[in-house]
């Protein structure tokens, strides 16, 4: 094959430059291909927002409301209890029935199924330690009380204090481990205290479930240290999706911070009628349940005498806009935790992005009427969720970005913690 003779001369280095610039200019319109090797011209504001989503993992800290948080013996006991079906009324359902390790600690179902089908989707337990509120409605303010909740729920494990306490008292291995953790055998008559101990051990175990680093984290850290060579390894489609995520999509206003959630609640225009009848009022009922709970951070079982972690519970406001609000979930490992939303209403990530892109503002009603005595002029309308009208290609970019929040170890089979028998 011969060379084509050009009517003019271009020096090699200049030719490379021209080709490079042309490719770079064409890149943003280059379809679904996602070659690495380019870095979008992120503005300072975009970079600042991107950097807010790390670093990862966050520093580990123990929970002051749980005196056995971080205790290795408690973690082992918590793991045993987590996979223990005898905690349930029928002896058939454990925490792991819904929180399956190989499914990123979810179950892949639309609605959770314990002893019967529940009203909500199973959320992942990964990074649960970083949360302020627990459950879709935030009806618990700490991980140990959240761990007690499904034990007592008739449709989940259907148990009671007596059954839980009896198992821990009567099983030699569990009783021995309980003593190692709490310094005394399970109380002979105080079932409630034994059950709270079970909750605290379960929490200690779940605090260890932290997702690993992701391609996004590598990109974010490369931007932070100005490492262009490392940054350009991040797929171009993901960069385009990230730009929508932190920009016109407004996604990062709620999915903010290293865990990709600000930890609060929002209405999302998802149907709230329950299969079993009635309406799921979400956060509104969640706050009422939180306040009524003996196991909240203002109650007698908080191990921090100063009640310092209880600030949110002391000050949380019950407002009309809480109706139909649900917790903004973490997006880490989100590609592994389908289906989505509080009731599993949306099957795929593309469905979720399309839902927000085409959102019908008339579906956002009561929850976005803002009532505040100090703000009497507030207009009763939502100005945050607006239809974006993304193209299919743009939706695919956002999905490509969300996929890069996946930890490569996320769904790997896990081995039980090694521990000698307790005697």
């Amino acid at each position: 094959m011969g060379l084509v003779k050009l009517p003019f001369t271009i020096h090699h280095s200049r030719l490379f430059l021209i080709v490079g610039v042309t490719l770079a200019l064409l890149a943003p319109w280059s379809g679904a291909q996602s070659p690495a090797g380019f870095l979008l011209d992120f503005s300072e504001a975009e970079r600042r927002m991107i950097l807010q989503h790390g670093p990862w993992p966050p520093p580990a800290a123990t929970d002051p409301s749980n005196r056995v948080s971080g205790n290795p013996e408690a973690i082992v006991l918590g793991e045993r209890l987590f996979f223990e079906p005898r905690l349930s009324a029928a002896g058939t359902v454990s925490c792991a029935t819904c929180h399956v390790p190989e499914k990123s600690w979810t179950d892949g179902r639309k609605l959770a199924v314990g002893l019967a089908e529940a009203d909500r989707n199973t959320p992942t337990l990964l990074n649960v330690r970083a949360q302020r509120w627990f459950g879709w409605d935030g009806s618990n303010d700490n991980l140990w009380s959240q761990s007690i909740r499904p034990l007592l729920d008739a449709r989940e494990m259907g148990s009671d204090e007596r059954r839980v306490a009896r198992l821990v008292r009567d099983n030699a291995e569990l009783a021995c481990r309980f003593e190692k953790v709490f310094g005394a055998r399970p109380h002979a008559t105080d079932d409630e205290t034994v059950m709270v101990g079970v909750g605290k051990a379960l929490a200690a175990f779940q605090e260890t479930l932290v997702s690993g680093r992701t391609p996004f984290d590598e990109f974010r850290d490369a931007l932070a240290r100005g490492d262009h060579e490392a940054a350009i390894r991040y797929p171009l489609d993901a960069q385009r999706g990230l730009r929508i995520f932190v920009g016109r999509g407004n996604c990062s206003l709620c999915h903010f911070g290293p865990s990709f959630t600000h930890g609060e609640f929002h209405e999302a225009g998802i149907p709230v009628f329950k299969k079993t009848g009635g309406v799921d009022w979400g956060r509104y009922d969640g706050i009422k349940r939180l306040r009524a709970s003996r196991f909240n951070l203002l109650g007698p079982f908080n191990d921090d005498p100063a009640r310092a972690p209880g600030t949110s519970t002391r000050h949380v406001a019950l407002l009309p806009q809480n109706f139909e609000q649900f917790k903004v979930p973490t997006l880490r490992n989100i590609a592994l935790t389908a289906p989505y939303m509080h009731n599993g209403h949306l099957a795929t990530l593309a469905d979720v992005v399309r839902h927000y892109s085409n959102i019908d503002p008339t579906l956002l009603h009561v929850a976005h009427m803002y009532f505040d005595p100090l703000v009497p002029d507030a207009v009763p309308t939502d100005t945050l969720l607006k239809p974006l009208r993304l193209t299919s290609l743009q939706i695919s970019y956002v999905v490509a970005f969300l996929a890069t929040l996946t930890d490569t170890e996320g769904s790997a089979p896990r081995k039980p913690l090694a521990a000698a028998p307790c005697r």
Binding site: F256, H315, A378, L384
Partner: protein, 133 residues
């Protein structure tokens, strides 16, 4: 130079006597209504998204105005038309100061601090915007 000095002096003279005796609050932001001068600062000084913080404030009546009966503190995001998910509790502490606990700005963007000072059967409102990133 003389002009600047004159300007500073005239502002000082213009302040009613009671407001001049306001206790100092280092690094505070100063706001004014018809009847009150309010200085506030946050703890920590740099606010973080979705983290609780405290507000320390001092309220002084201008000359001849009634002492404040109470103070309320709130936050609002005008661009999103929503406020905080938490209610601040304001307590009077020593030296004419107040301490507001339990505030949280849960989203990045512009937030307006709203201060309401009640006194003499009326309420004065002062606002100040901050940008959270």
């Amino acid at each position: 130079m003389l002009k600047t000095l004159f300007l500073i002096l005239s502002i000082f003279v213009a302040l009613p006597a009671a407001a001049q005796n306001c206790p100092a609050l280092d690094g505070a932001r100063r706001l004014e209504s018809d009847r009150y001068v309010l200085s506030y600062r946050t703890r920590p000084a740099k606010l973080a998204v979705s983290q609780h913080f405290l507000v320390e404030l001092v309220v002084c009546p201008k000359g001849g105005q009634p002492a404040p009966d109470g103070v309320r503190v709130d936050g609002f995001m005008p661009e999103h038309n929503h406020g905080m998910n938490y209610r601040a509790e304001v307590k009077a502490v020593e030296g004419g100061r107040y301490l507001a606990d339990g505030l949280m700005f849960h989203m990045p963007g512009r937030w307006d601090f709203i201060f309401e000072v009640r006194g003499g059967g009326k309420a004065d409102r002062m606002t100040h915007s901050v940008i959270l990133q």
